[in-house]
Symmetry: D2
Subunit: 133 residues, 4 copies
Amino acid sequence: MTDASKDSFYRQGFMKTLGAKLVSIEKGLVKLECDFHKKLTQQHGYFHAGVLTSLADVACGYAAHSMMPAGSEVLSVEFKTNFIRPAKAAKIIATGEVIKSGKTLTFCEAKVTDETEEVIFATMQATMICLKK
Amino acid sequence: MTDASKDSFYRQGFMKTLGAKLVSIEKGLVKLECDFHKKLTQQHGYFHAGVLTSLADVACGYAAHSMMPAGSEVLSVEFKTNFIRPAKAAKIIATGEVIKSGKTLTFCEAKVTDETEEVIFATMQATMICLKK
Amino acid sequence: MTDASKDSFYRQGFMKTLGAKLVSIEKGLVKLECDFHKKLTQQHGYFHAGVLTSLADVACGYAAHSMMPAGSEVLSVEFKTNFIRPAKAAKIIATGEVIKSGKTLTFCEAKVTDETEEVIFATMQATMICLKK
Amino acid sequence: MTDASKDSFYRQGFMKTLGAKLVSIEKGLVKLECDFHKKLTQQHGYFHAGVLTSLADVACGYAAHSMMPAGSEVLSVEFKTNFIRPAKAAKIIATGEVIKSGKTLTFCEAKVTDETEEVIFATMQATMICLKK
């Protein structure tokens, strides 16, 4: 399952574009990181809200995927992101966690922080759906 | 105001990374487009949810900005995206619209569609905040 | 289908508590109304955000239900409400509409307005799930 | 501040309608409870999604209010609720917590659980705004 999640992660062209890296995948808990780069900025030179959201989405998606039966695929149904403060950091870390895993839907939460994981830039609530092959 | 919005848009390194282009800025209504590229994909080869969301966020942000006093800056407070169907398209179009513009907060909605603007891939509800210089 | 939706509506004890009435159910479009009463207020004497949300949720739920196969039940997966302005009105109207109806999930939008349906107090994006008997 | 929050809570006609009670108000953390009653049900006889949401909203609102300067008023800007499982319980408890308190906006999270506070029925992310008198 973990390997399937890793394979799927590295098939996402967009993760390469962001320079995102998988830090860890446990059952129901996924951590990603991404270094600051000018190509990821909004108009004030900080990490773009879209980058924070993309990482949080993927962390939630693979957290959900890690608890699904072998051969399942995961898709985002919806998510909401709140932006707590400007994301000024050399690196951001996105942690996605499964709150409730169901047969069809999985509900996850994520936070995006600085390297210390103590300064929160954004939080997400997300619904993921399991597609059986 | 329109020029300030354009300038601000092109200062976003992330928009260049996505290959996003401003199609139009009117008062309270902004349209962006983005061509399909492998660097923007999720694991099945479609546009990534994070790309759809980033474009919708920026369309909302500049729609809000276009109605703010000169010299204002705009930041995303929060947004929610619902994903209606897989985003298989040669090009996507994000349209952001101001629903209610206040002194501090502006409430916007966006949709992301295919080229015909008839097939909806995602919708967003967003709150933007006006920062005075 | 319409009758099943009506029956289900009137089985909701909470709708009676609010004094909510079904105005119309068409396929994918449901309208409710609710008169102002002190029992529905927040601390400034206007309609409570929870009342606006409850009506919008139910309008979305039955809009979704009206497009499901006979014998289906509907449950709310999640919703988000934005509050546009204080809800000072003698009566509020909640209109829920199906944006995309799928086998399992249905995506809806709703607005809550005054009697003229022109002054918007709140908007909702909601995901509903179909439970088969 | 705590007393001002209590006064404001008991001015909400809708809280009396629900039979909601303030359990505790600390700085940035508010707990409410509400006993089951048929007048609060959806079509299957459980607590209505609108009731869960209303309690979560109010718990967030007063958590935010408890950190605002004396004489401030609080209004809900927006919130999102995810429904984790049907709310079958003799009593529900809503706990709202401030995640980030700013001069204008306060970001809160809430959960609604059963009496043990271990079975989660719903979670909320909410943005509150401070209105100065």
